[in-house]
Amino acid sequence: MVVRELSDADADRIFHALADATRRDILVRVARHELSVSALAQHYPMSFAAVQKHVAVLHRAGLVHKERRGREQVVHAEPATLRRVIDLLEAYERIWRHRVDGIDRLLAED
């Protein structure tokens, strides 16, 4: 199964990274286009250092990569990792398709 392509440690890092609403929001913003950490920091009621920490968590999970450009750190999304999360949701979707087929069979019997 696709899910097996993730090691347990990878999965833990990805899920930990995605479990926080600020980090999910950062990910959505940088998925649209690359942003510097200071540009990102303007969107949140928290310190630059706190935003930098969130970016570091996303980076360790492989969800974004960082690039130093002069004095700025530019953050890009890493679509391949996001793809893996979608694969996980697809595995969950298969469970639901199985359930829907079960309901359909049950309704046909009654």
Partner: protein, 160 residues
């Protein structure tokens, strides 16, 4: 095909499944309301469910277990948060220990189920939201083991 559409939102960790059935709304509602009907489809592949508690009212608790391919049991709980028969059901679903006590500090998947008439049949929409992303892995682990067992079985057949 009863499943019409499925939408995934990787950032918000939600899955929406829309299904249409050739049966009136009241009969689709019964597959949730009647525990004997519910347990015939709730468990993931290879993990049939048995409900030993089913309080189908707001604030009500349900308890169930699913029996795996090697006879191992995985226990779960529901807490009903909204109910409007026969159109709307909301509940939290989580893992429990053998006595039915919630595990993972009460972490749960939130479900919103709506059933509407559609032509001569019904349309059921189910939105699952994973409050904690790590939880998704755990939920999948059961179905995955079965999937792995099936693929190993197929390889075994090829080698025979």
């Amino acid at each position: 095909m009863p499943v019409v559409k499925a939408y995934k939102d990787a950032e918000a960790l939600t899955l929406t499944v829309v299904a249409e059935f050739d049966a009136p709304v009241e009969r689709v509602w019964q597959v949730w309301e009647d525990p004997r009907r519910l347990e015939r489809w709730w468990g993931p592949p290879g993990w049939p469910a048995t409900f030993d508690r089913h309080e189908f009212v707001v604030g009500g608790h349900c308890g169930y277990y699913m029996t795996g391919p090697d006879g191992e049991k995985s226990h779960g709980w529901w807490r009903i948060t909204a109910i409007e028969p026969p159109h709307r059901l909301e509940f939290d679903d989580g893992f429990a220990d053998a006595e039915g006590r919630p595990l993972d500090s009460g972490k749960a998947v939130h479900f919103v189920v709506t059933i509407e008439p559609r032509g001569t049949g019904s349309r059921m929409t189910t939105v699952s939201t994973f409050a904690d992303a790590e939880y998704l892995e755990k939920v999948l682990a059961m179905g995955m083991e079965e999937g792995l067992r099936q693929s190993l079985g197929q390889i075994d057949d090829l080698l025979a």
